[in-house]
Amino acid sequence: MKVRKFLALMAAVLLAAVALVGCGGGGEKASSEDAAKDSDVIKIGVYEPLTGINAAGGEMTLDGIELANKLYPEVLGKKVELVVADNKSEKQEAANAVARLVNEGVDVIIGSYGSSLSMAGGPVAEEAGVPVIGCSPTNPLVTKGNDYYFRVCFIDPFQGTVMANYAVNTLGAKTAAIIQDVQQDYSVGLSKYFEESFKELTGDENAIVAKVNYNTGDKDFSAQLTEVKDKNPDVIFAPGNFTECGILVERARELGIKAPILGGDTWEAKEFLNRVGDLEDIYFSTHFTAEEPVTEVSETFLNEFKKEYPDKQVNAFAALGFDSYLLALDAIERAGSTDHEKIKEELAKTSGFKGATGIITLDENGDATKTAIIKKVEDGKFVYEAKVDPQN
């Protein structure tokens, strides 16, 4: 009985401590905020999914941000401090994380991988008047109607259009089939814009011969692929997660579907390559290539990345994280102060900014217009295929 009582006491003390410190924490934070204002540190907040289902993407992005911070640790003669908050790949946590960063007195926020997480964080930052730079949320709704949200990546409509262009102009396709993941906003968005511009480019209302759906987590795509095979399209557009798409592409080739298969930037992952490495005619659009450095910054990024993370593969998300950080620094420098309004105004004016992923100009929504890269799978590697400028 004594042991039980002791343990009861222990647990009670522990929980009480948690509750007390939890409440007390607020006061401390307020004082650290004041301190930050006076000291020589500029704080940049980062909210990324470091745990949970999107952890892989968040981690890649954070690599890039940390690398950039290491290379360029100062702005306006002050040290830049990164404040990283994990958003657990959950919406309510994303909102909490942004609220916390704001509370800690950050001047700019970077994040987040995953559009739905960004949409949860956006309103919190907007209300607090802290500008946010998104690295890889591609859903148009993230920045729409939010003056404080900007991004360095291109958006779903552009990516869909690029792939339609490539299919029609380079691959000479007349008909296409779409296989989309109805649970992913990303997949649905890309498909929608691919469909629109494909119809426009071919001038044929019936150019999309099939549009079939699947759900995240599906492992068997035989039904969808058989339907597509019957229609015999010139190309197949199948944006989605690399896990499902890896299986899907592999199965398509097994079923004898010869048509080129096109996808989006999510395909640039090792897991995808492991499955489809030896298959042919697989193309996707992405933000960045290691083979064709677009600017001098790309080269710096490439060299430094290899030095810093010798056992990791250079990837687009790290490059986007790198660019977000640089853009934040650039905007602070242009603003000449850490006044949030001024930083926001300067961000909105960004034009011809040279980043690792290309030359970035922000439009009136705060979305980047920039060059997209098309890569293909060849001999177990991703190989640079073409460059598409936003004009066409």
């Binding site: 009861a8 647990a11 609220a99 916390r100 704001v102 739905s116 949409m119 949860a120 109805v182 649905v188």
Partner: protein, 353 residues
């Protein structure tokens, strides 16, 4: 006259007043961040308490809570969004005309969210409540996933996977905590009513309860529907707190988060759910510091993401190992206990005084 009774009424009123003053004061003093966490705690308390009604008090192992939340959140969101933002957001497929021009105030929309969720509760309850134990768990879990799939696929109503944003936001502590306190008062009175006794009888022994003349199916339906109603309310509140929702938010993992509150607090104790709901939400946020790089005894420790979940898991393990009943078991907080502790004499009058 029972002196204790008057004291207790006075204490109840005093507590409510103090809480009201605190909320009012908190709204103007606390930072937006602290308010957000406290509001989230209120939502989790509602979720925990309503799930406890179904799981802890009626003994039905139902895992459909996130599904009902989803219904409530979407109902409230669609009812309150302005026609302009609907036009902006439904860019894939326009919203169906009969929903387009609806723009309700927040409070009726929240209650409507609860009502629609309750309707779904009835629809699901009819077939599913014929099952027991694990089978019920599987059926309700399936239902929650079905709801999510339906929401994903009815693009002209819910905007599908793209989700909704620009939902009117509400930030005051008073709003969320009022709903929370009202929920607790309703649930407490329900549990101490004849319905509540029937629920507990069913939980303890269904056959015996039936033999005693309790209509098992009717009471199960009641508990399930009321649980769904409050889950819907909580979903609606969540929509107003985060201002953007999408179907992936309501994955079944969310239900386990609520179940955690129920188990940790004690299955069959509202007090437990309230305490656990508040502690878990605040601790989750407070424990963030362990993920930051820090220096302990001259050693630099790099920040490890996910550390707070580990600490949390250990804490949970302790509770589960040594307190199989949860923090409160089936006990409830009441003033008698406090007064006894304070050494106030109890009037042990018997019969007519």
């Amino acid at each position: 006259m029972d002196g204790r009774k008057n004291i207790k009424i006075a204490l109840n009123i005093a507590t409510l007043l103090v809480t009201a003053v605190f909320l009012y004061w908190g709204d103007s003093v606390l930072s937006p961040f602290q308010k957000r966490i406290l509001n989230l705690a209120a939502i989790f308390v509602i979720l925990g308490a309503s799930m406890n009604l179904v799981v802890g008090f009626t003994g039905m192992f139902s895992l459909g809570h996130s599904g009902f939340m989803c219904v409530g959140a979407y109902t409230a969101a669609i009812l309150t969004m302005s026609p302009e933002s609907k036009e902006l957001i439904y860019y894939m497929e326009p919203i169906v005309p009969w929903l387009k021009n609806i723009e309700w105030p927040i409070i009726p929309a929240t209650i409507m969210g609860g009502i629609i969720a309750a309707v779904f509760g009835i629809l699901v309850g009819f077939p599913a409540l014929r099952l027991r134990d694990d089978y019920l768990a599987i059926a309700t879990l399936g239902f929650a996933e079905i709801i999510r799939i339906i929401v994903t696929n009815t693009i002209s109503i819910t905007n599908g996977a793209l989700g909704l944003k620009n939902i009117p936001s509400e930030k005051s502590l008073l709003f969320y905590w009022s709903f929370c306190i009202i929920t607790i008062i309703i649930l407490k009175n329900l549990i101490n009513s004849s319905w509540g006794y029937a629920f507990k009888a069913i939980r303890d022994n269904e056959i015996a309860a039936e033999a005693m003349g309790v209509s098992v199916f009717k009471h199960k339906m009641l508990s399930f529907t009321i649980g769904a109603f409050f889950a819907g309310i909580a979903g609606a509140l969540m929509a107003f707190l985060i201002t953007s929702i999408d179907p992936t938010m309501f994955r079944f993992l969310f239900t386990f988060q609520i179940l955690l509150i129920v188990v940790l607090g004690g299955m069959g104790s509202l007090t437990g759910s309230v305490i656990a709901g508040i502690i878990i939400t605040i601790a989750m946020e407070w424990l963030r510091f362990v993920e930051r790089p820090m220096t302990i005894l001259g050693m630099d420790i790099p920040g490890i993401p996910g550390m707070r979940m580990v600490i949390f898991a250990i804490l949970l393990l302790v509770v589960v190992l040594f307190y199989r009943q949860g923090l409160m078991g089936t006990k409830e907080f009441n003033w008698d206990w406090l007064l006894d502790k304070l050494g106030l004499a109890r009037n042990r009058e018997r019969g007519i005084s």
